[in-house]
Symmetry: D3
Subunit: 274 residues, 6 copies
Amino acid sequence: MFFHKKELQFHAKPDKPDPVYAKQLQEILGGQFGEISVAMQYLFQGWNTRENEKYKDLIMDTGTEELGHIEMIATMIARLLDRAPVNEQEKASKDPVIGAIMGGMNPQHVIVSGLGAVPKDSTGVPWNAGYIIASGNLLADFRANLNAESQGRLQVARLYEMTDDRGVKEMLSFLLARDTMHQNQWIAAIKELEEKEGVVAPASVPPEYEATEFSHKLYNFSEGAESATGSWASGTAPDGAQFEYEDMPVIYGEKPKLEPAPPYIHGTPPHDPK
Amino acid sequence: MFFHKKELQFHAKPDKPDPVYAKQLQEILGGQFGEISVAMQYLFQGWNTRENEKYKDLIMDTGTEELGHIEMIATMIARLLDRAPVNEQEKASKDPVIGAIMGGMNPQHVIVSGLGAVPKDSTGVPWNAGYIIASGNLLADFRANLNAESQGRLQVARLYEMTDDRGVKEMLSFLLARDTMHQNQWIAAIKELEEKEGVVAPASVPPEYEATEFSHKLYNFSEGAESATGSWASGTAPDGAQFEYEDMPVIYGEKPKLEPAPPYIHGTPPHDPK
Amino acid sequence: MFFHKKELQFHAKPDKPDPVYAKQLQEILGGQFGEISVAMQYLFQGWNTRENEKYKDLIMDTGTEELGHIEMIATMIARLLDRAPVNEQEKASKDPVIGAIMGGMNPQHVIVSGLGAVPKDSTGVPWNAGYIIASGNLLADFRANLNAESQGRLQVARLYEMTDDRGVKEMLSFLLARDTMHQNQWIAAIKELEEKEGVVAPASVPPEYEATEFSHKLYNFSEGAESATGSWASGTAPDGAQFEYEDMPVIYGEKPKLEPAPPYIHGTPPHDPK
Amino acid sequence: MFFHKKELQFHAKPDKPDPVYAKQLQEILGGQFGEISVAMQYLFQGWNTRENEKYKDLIMDTGTEELGHIEMIATMIARLLDRAPVNEQEKASKDPVIGAIMGGMNPQHVIVSGLGAVPKDSTGVPWNAGYIIASGNLLADFRANLNAESQGRLQVARLYEMTDDRGVKEMLSFLLARDTMHQNQWIAAIKELEEKEGVVAPASVPPEYEATEFSHKLYNFSEGAESATGSWASGTAPDGAQFEYEDMPVIYGEKPKLEPAPPYIHGTPPHDPK
Amino acid sequence: MFFHKKELQFHAKPDKPDPVYAKQLQEILGGQFGEISVAMQYLFQGWNTRENEKYKDLIMDTGTEELGHIEMIATMIARLLDRAPVNEQEKASKDPVIGAIMGGMNPQHVIVSGLGAVPKDSTGVPWNAGYIIASGNLLADFRANLNAESQGRLQVARLYEMTDDRGVKEMLSFLLARDTMHQNQWIAAIKELEEKEGVVAPASVPPEYEATEFSHKLYNFSEGAESATGSWASGTAPDGAQFEYEDMPVIYGEKPKLEPAPPYIHGTPPHDPK
Amino acid sequence: MFFHKKELQFHAKPDKPDPVYAKQLQEILGGQFGEISVAMQYLFQGWNTRENEKYKDLIMDTGTEELGHIEMIATMIARLLDRAPVNEQEKASKDPVIGAIMGGMNPQHVIVSGLGAVPKDSTGVPWNAGYIIASGNLLADFRANLNAESQGRLQVARLYEMTDDRGVKEMLSFLLARDTMHQNQWIAAIKELEEKEGVVAPASVPPEYEATEFSHKLYNFSEGAESATGSWASGTAPDGAQFEYEDMPVIYGEKPKLEPAPPYIHGTPPHDPK
């Protein structure tokens, strides 16, 4: 159960409107690694966690915080859209700066949302739940979380470079910091789990399930041997076994030959010469 | 540029057809963490890599291998679909076992692909490129890759439990092994990069961009203090700073008050009482 | 900013597991009119509201409640999935009841989420933000909300009929009640706005924008005159004007004739005989 | 069965080409509340209507008209694209006005459709059937229709403000008028059904299905009491019962505790300290 | 502008309900090559046709007919869903035949549409406009149309095999016939255009745009020479030139070396050893 | 199984960066008829081919080549993005040419991919597998392939017109040539199959399945008789029968009357007057 406080977690006030930047900022609201993604990913992970209250609480702390980040960015976008040049007088002016702004805006910021944020990315693609994962295995999922916070912080850093508005930069500096925390926390939690379970997820697969003779070989499928010099090609692997490098990948399978389909499938009958 | 060899990398022959299992197996072909995802993710990462030939070659080795895994699983699915009970005679039999099979199959395996694999997940949702990432930052992307191989191996392990077909299990045992290798290799590559760059991605963000007073605080947004006892709430963080725990999150922002929209937006005019 | 309490708003405990019903229940979690839709729709409407604090607070009260409903249903689904028959022993049993269950389940409830809820509908389609609207015009949006609560309550009622599990029914009886409240509240709010603004949204369109001679005519485009007898075909319209019925719709336009495209478009050149 | 007449229902001729506006106009063709949405929504509602010929005929009259509106807008878009500046000479001119136009156009209007309309919204997202509803309950669906016509008219009004082309404005003035009619007709039809069935949809839910003690309470989940003063917080509700306001929402549920998953799910085993 | 007649173009009455088949039949209503696809594809092609009235009229004749086919199949689906076993009594019976039916149905046919057709495919994926094409080049588009009618007829043939209901088969026999006509007509129209324009689309590309030395070579990228024996590997090509076969594809490009990104992109800096 | 060579099949080097063109070029990488589509379509067709090794090898040759085309275009896009004007200094310049470039770029080329290609189309919509087909019937599928190569070549031709960069044009001239070859080869293969099987796909439908009296009639559903003069309206059809033209389409069906739904569906009860 959730409760809402009217105040934002942090300031979200630009120095001045900038509708083209509003479109770009949508990426970290409704994009693949935007705030909707992390909020929903963490909440679903929390709701699906079985026992393990310590991890569950960490997940729910973070997921609930991210709901507040959606709110901050949505508020910022609405303010960046204030006084966007959209009506016919401005259009008629033929000022190329205005023209570039009108061409560079997301038209849905006017037509659909009336100067409000939309749950979409910077090109207008609606957020969808195919972006997120909650697998029931926390080691796997914390790796997903570490990735999300890494990609998210990278995107915030790029957006930071793309503006000179101090109000926007102030909010982004807060988001950079929170992404730093969240990377740190997931790394710490991953370390805990790896110490308990081992580094290969899921840890619970019995050795007899696995064809272990193939578990530590790097195959050279892309011509050139640059990869042979890396720490993944020889020496001790993170799970304790030895890495091997196969310059010429051995073929273990055979040329597949599928049976013909029955006539009621209406596929192509065999036309091969005998 | 790619070249194709007719042989499969590994055997892909079930002991007997099983069309319901064919539907389930689609998850690791065309699902969020299926083989199309890893192949496309790695290849786009490789094509977008600037310099760093050692990493690029590793990525291309692995991406090219994954193309071959799509092929193996597609072949297995086609064979699991051989002699699927689909025509009217079988339907007319009213045998509940047949009925359950027909109800449990993916109807597109008959109607659309004519007993072939489809580039879709286990519920029939088409694969889409919103699943993948190639960001230009290798530390961030290798974390995405480690996640993908963790989720992928987890899904293979579950599918292993769901069948007693030895031929299917043999192929899955190979995939488990390759996912073990790929987890190991991405962990090794991440470790290399973290040693060079630090653990927080992207490493290149100057400290003055970040509101560092918020970079190591865990906020208790979900009532209950279970998370306060974890390694992420106190002590030294992975990046070397000190974690802090805030039981009652401080509010740094204010209640947002948006300006009214201009009349040509046709929003709701202010109806608040004065 | 949001805070989370660990308790659910209402009980979410089935009498016994039922994995096929878990799949069906996904509709009101991640479907077009599921709880994710209403939560996100209301929150975005609230964040985009300019002035009008009374309405904004109502929207935020309701949106925040809906976050808790997502949580309730996700919890119920996880419990319905307990002990789902998924592994090979059960499969080998050839029991047609088990077979029907395995065929009728969502395979992702095992393979992807490990017995947890997914942010998808009852056929496995991921939730997407194309389902929701926050337009900046509250009369329009409250009509969207009334629709969402009407469709939502209809779906809950149908799901109520599809189970005999008392625990599930108890939760659904709570959801039916909340949807009754939400329909009532949006009707009341719509009435307030219609009294201030008039019934046609948006109220702010000046009459000179509109070709008002076409604003109250019902055109008989589908042969048969049953619709001519309704309250929408004659008499006073809700906005005070008079409805008219046109049995044979007049054509106001002309046959369109498009200009040929320039050669660099590589369209089909005119092949019409002169 | 449908028949087509070559004439458009109304004029669709701009005074001059405007490829940036063509992109914006796509919103009411292929967007969430564009003409494809209302046409398909009404037609599916009509085809699924069981008995109730009067309503069915009204739905089919309107759905068939909307097919003609798709045609009008598609024609307008094709004409707005005439002579769009797309080839290299224009590009080479370095005229910033031309540059802004080329940047603000939808590139698919050249590359994909060759100066024709596309079934997509103003950002290029393809229309999809997740936008529409045909539930089999007409009260619920007419509320969906009233919403669609309200959002649609709002979008047309905004597009009207964004151009000074008299030909475009003339077509939009017709669409504004038709949306006025359609709002009026659905309001009238809703009123008829509400008088027969009551205001809460679906009317057929027996009282014993519903936990009626929760059916009229407004819960204050978002801090602040502005919403307590509305017509939805006290007094008589539209369905005749009394509204109540709960300043501090009571918790009826409990902290959920999920059972551990069986080992073959490969989730995270319990790591909580005893 | 369109007009609707209440009668169906052809009978659409099954002998008896069959809700599992209703789900399967959705493929040719709302699937990739279902009736919505052909209707929308043809209508958009027609609206975008510039001059060429003869072809435009043919397209509009066919697109309008397809609207009537959507209606026929939607009606058939609604009738196949009559008396679907969905409520708790039936569920409680534990009859495995009933269980298989409930597992094999599309749950949205009850929960969402209330025993009506949905604009989705046989796995529940909503129809989307990414399936269709209207390019402004009629030779290209007629090839798309011939493909759509070929895939469509193939799917109808498979569905014909999957039922023993005479009413359903009667409707399918009509659809098979119409798809035969539509294949014939598009082949005839393609032939006309090829005679005027040549076989390579678009015909209007000047020879100096094309690196013609690569225009007739088959490259052996997949090991094995079976393809070398086909009519595409030697002899005269359809456009009059000579086919050639290259057993060992020549490499015309070079190993790509991308420039490093500027620091403000926050990509991975060069870590290659000097 | 696949192997990768580092060299590109052909040069992919622009004379100078052009980030707006990079966005446009995405269409033939990740659009409906881009290189991902043809690669995946051909590979899935090859993997699903049963017997018919000659055709299978041709398909695999071509699909493997297309993988290399994805790589070429991805490389070209990365280079077109070099030194894109994205950071604040440039923004602050208020140069309208820079403004138009920033407005006309895909913001994800900076924020998401860090100056790399994305698997999306020219408007940012992610590639999805709903674009492709592999049906098990080669005649049907080769028609899909001919369409894909026709649409693809058309799009390349348009992109050729939209640039004056010689490096880009050189790559496009190669792609035009390969699309010429691929159109030729699919036409040749179609001809082979049509000679063996007949022109109507699938050839295996027995005449008793089809209501052949409707198999050669053109119905005049769109007012106007222009289409009556075509080669599809009279004379011998491609399959050898005679075309017929029906000026006034006969109605073979009846007005559908659906049964009322059972009460537990909660649809609208019959309100028609007796």
